[in-house]
Symmetry: C2
Subunit: 140 residues, 2 copies
DNA sequence: CTGAATCCTTAGGGATACTG
DNA sequence: CAGTATCCCTAAGGATTCAG
């Protein structure tokens, strides 16, 4: 996900950029994991449940490019690469945590609101499903 | 956009939900606009530059479903519909603004970081473009 | 004015296999 | 271990048209 911008309007552009940055479903999880401290690739992959290595690589590259994450390659064999937040990255982590906390706290409230909404609206008679998407996601 | 979750891991699920919520490129802009006060559909559409009617409708539905936005339909002709943040929505708006401010303030820093990164890496020799996407976005 | 319905393109991202 | 390279598929979301 790198629309990265779009001519939203000059005022909104950078905002949209950052938002789409954290919106790519994984970066925020990555960053919040990295707050704890530097981490190696596979360690990070294990901590961010469900992410594929392809996407993890891509996300880290993006974060590195934007100056939020620093990549340190140790010339050992087998390779060892460490990722750490830059100072800039830690600045971003702050507001991100704020949001993360909000989510953690209000998760069920959202669930409830949805349930209520779905009920009040065209809830297909039970037994007449197809309901909402089965969605085919899987864990690692 | 309703991936809305995915079995990220039980701890991260609500977080991912909220993040994907704001990640859909428009919702955060919508919410921050609605902080100013209730707004009608087309007024909102004008304020959120570049959004299509379809997407605005969909985003508002999603926000309504999640309990962040309230929809009030005035039975006039022609129709007049007002959207306003719920108290819950205003709670979400807080941390969203934090992020929004970060973006506004650090926009150029990101630009700079990217420029630096792109330069230090495989910058294709000038004249040999195709460089980065032309990307075909347009304003309203 | 508010929105629903359609069509269509793009890219995010999952799965899998291969490499230094 | 830390990636790169492919294939492929779904969904986000533009553009356009129709309707109450």
């Amino acid at each position: 996900m790198k629309p990265r911008h779009g001519h939203i309007s000059d005022g909104c552009r950078p905002i949209s950029e950052v938002l789409s940055l954290i919106g790519n479903k994984w970066t925020s999880l990555i960053i919040t994991r990295l707050i704890e401290g530097p981490m190696r690739f596979n360690e990070l992959k294990r901590q961010v449940h469900g992410i594929s290595q392809k996407v993890l690589t891509a996300s880290l590259r993006a974060l590195e490019r934007d100056g939020f994450v620093e990549r340190t390659e140790h010339p050992t064999v087998p390779p060892s690469v460490e990722y750490r937040l830059t100072p800039f990255g830690r600045e971003l982590a702050e507001p991100l945590l704020t949001l993360t906390r909000f989510a953690a706290i209000n998760g069920e409230r959202m669930e409830a609101a949805r349930a209520a909404y779905d009920e009040g609206h065209d809830t297909p008679p039970p037994g007449t499903e197809p309901r909402r998407k089965p969605l085919g996601l899987r864990l690692n």
